[in-house]
Point group: C2
Chain length 370, copies 2
């Protein structure tokens, strides 16, 4: 495919090594060779989520969206109450998914570009009764980031029985996320964002408590997402024993293995810090030097894997950048869809300075004299 600079908020540019690991022949999903790779992927996934030995990693063939169904079909039974913190399109879609699985959803919607105040959240949780709360760490539609640590603390204080579910699709690998220390019960991500792998894998983590809820479900709403079926498989693979429920995406997992190596070799903290540096640089340049306004209200709620920027004629800007070889995205929030652009800066584009991707994007935006 062509050699544009891909700066959408996922799929992201993958490294040469990841690409090589992807373009390999098929091997048996039960071969020692693949079992070793999958085992390593599961162990490294635990590290990247900062999860402990008691947590359960899960890597399935599917889009990131599948993670919502995994959460909803295993943690929710008809009528269970769920509190959804909405910061945009993806939080709302997750709410829809929960409803499909029979949840009674109460939604707290943040003002556009902002987050739900933790005091409001505390008040909403105080009467009790919520089985699950969902937090979209970064809503890719707005570039708004929730303070997951703070929210977890509030939930643990006011309603400790509530399961904490974090959508980390646009955060794992580029934002601070401490699955175990913060007491998260289920966090879901996808391969094609800050993890730097190709699209097609749903990657997630369960706490012991979430596993026990999943195993004690009276009814099940899906087969492919069934944790009762998948967890023994994942545990076998992790302990290097081939096992079968559905055929894993062998080459994608091989590519993810290399992508996770690159993150851990760089150092997870360093890699996250690098995403923050890149993001801060770009956001400062865009606001200070170009005088543009961001969708995210302030630095405290701004994501570090993408930047959502108000511009006058988004399709024209996108098309002009495309002509300069840079691919960015349009808006995805119903209230302001035609008013902003989204620039992704995750993985290689954010971390590999020699590529000059973000500099090039800034230069291109500057050249447009917006």
């Amino acid at each position: 495919m062509t050699e544009n600079i891909l700066l959408i908020p996922g799929p992201v540019v993958i490294s040469n090594k990841v690409q090589q690991a992807l373009g390999t022949g098929s091997v048996s999903h039960t071969s020692d060779e693949f079992v070793a790779v999958f085992s390593s992927v599961l162990k490294k996934t635990r590290q990247v989520f900062k999860a402990g030995e008691s947590s359960q990693p899960l890597v399935l063939a599917g889009s990131g969206t599948l993670g919502w169904d995994i959460a909803a079909s295993n943690l929710i039974e008809t009528g269970d109450k769920v509190l959804v913190l909405s910061t945009g399109f993806f939080s709302d879609s997750f709410a829809e998914c929960l409803q499909v699985h029979g949840a009674h959803v109460d939604k707290m919607t943040a003002p556009l570009g902002g987050v739900v105040p933790v005091s409001d959240l505390r008040a909403a949780l105080t009467p009790g009764g919520y089985k699950v709360i969902t937090i979209t760490h970064v809503d890719t539609s707005t570039g708004v980031m929730n303070d997951v640590k703070e929210i977890c603390k509030a939930v643990k204080h006011v309603s400790p029985e509530t399961l904490i579910v974090v959508d980390g699709v646009c955060s794992v690998g580029c934002e601070k996320l401490e699955f175990e220390a913060w007491g998260i019960d289920y966090a879901l991500s996808a391969s094609q964002k800050a993890l730097g792998a190709p699209p097609g894998l749903s990657i997630s983590m369960l706490s012991e408590r979430a596993v026990s809820v999943a195993f004690s479900q009276k009814s099940q709403s899906c087969f492919y997402t069934s944790l009762k079926r998948w967890i023994p498989i994942m545990q076998n693979y992790e302990s290097r024993k081939a096992s079968y429920f559905a055929t894993p995406a062998v080459q994608l997992i091989n590519a993810l293995n290399v992508a996770l190596d690159e993150i851990l070799e760089h150092g997870l903290e360093e890699r996250i810090a690098k995403h923050w540096t890149t993001s801060d640089w770009f956001k400062n340049k865009v606001t200070e030097e170009l005088g543009l306004e961001l969708v995210s209200a302030n630095a405290r709620v701004s994501a570090h894997g993408l930047t959502a920027i108000y511009v006058k004629n988004p399709p024209e800007v996108i098309s002009a950048l495309k002509n300069m070889g840079i691919v960015i995205s349009g808006g995805l929030h119903k209230d302001i869809q035609g008013e902003y652009i989204r620039v992704g800066h995750m993985g290689e584009s954010a971390c590999n300075d020699s590529l000059q991707h973000i500099q090039s994007c800034f230069d291109a935006l500057k050249a447009l004299e917006l």
Copy 2:
């Protein structure tokens, strides 16, 4: 990964061109470039299933198993009656999936190595009331093939209102399947078998009637498999308009595109015929020259993408072949699990004579003096 001859019944050996198409950088899922590829994949999928313009192709990130959930969550509501024709492990697992989605399942189990007689099927359908019948075209656990054409004819005659669902995971690309002419309503397959692509894509086809059932469902049991959400996306992509519900597995679809090209350039009929020739040759040699017995009872019910063979010590045979660089599979049917081996011959290994894969496998088996 290593260069063994991979002869399990999926994943199969992929061609060099497919491998190259897989090992490409990420592109935007909404780029003109990818939209053109996806459009072409959907059109070619229709050709490979022998489906007409009114049929709806569907390509989702996921394992083949996901196709069962697509069928069950869109065509079944709680209490709906489903007749399952079981020819092995995969038919039984599909039945389990249907039950998870609330179906009332009646199962007709074929004798080991055989199929359910069509006369029995007619009798079972006569009282009416079955919303869906499921047929596993080839059950990969036994190598038994159903006569889907004959079964469709019987269903149309006795119970025309019953939706016909065909699991073609181990058949599309290597067995005759005429989606439209036979009046199939939903057929599902996967990328890693006779289609000759890497694992990770669920590929399926819906009739107009199935689409209308899916759209008129009162309740839904899954979000990711929702046809109400996916069909508009697939229709947009096919007509070259980018559209979003969940991020497609860009590189896998690029690889599938090349794999489908290879099938259609070879000629679908010729390609199927070649699988039959390879399969017949192997089965004859194994039974006549080596005096071994097949799990499938006779040629009429024998699949052409794999051969299931009784041997005395399967783990020893598998391990001996592994040492000779040939990877085959063990048994997967509960009653005879430790009594047979499975050799896959799909895609490149069956069609590319210069590879000599099946000859090598036969020679290796012969050398063992079983």
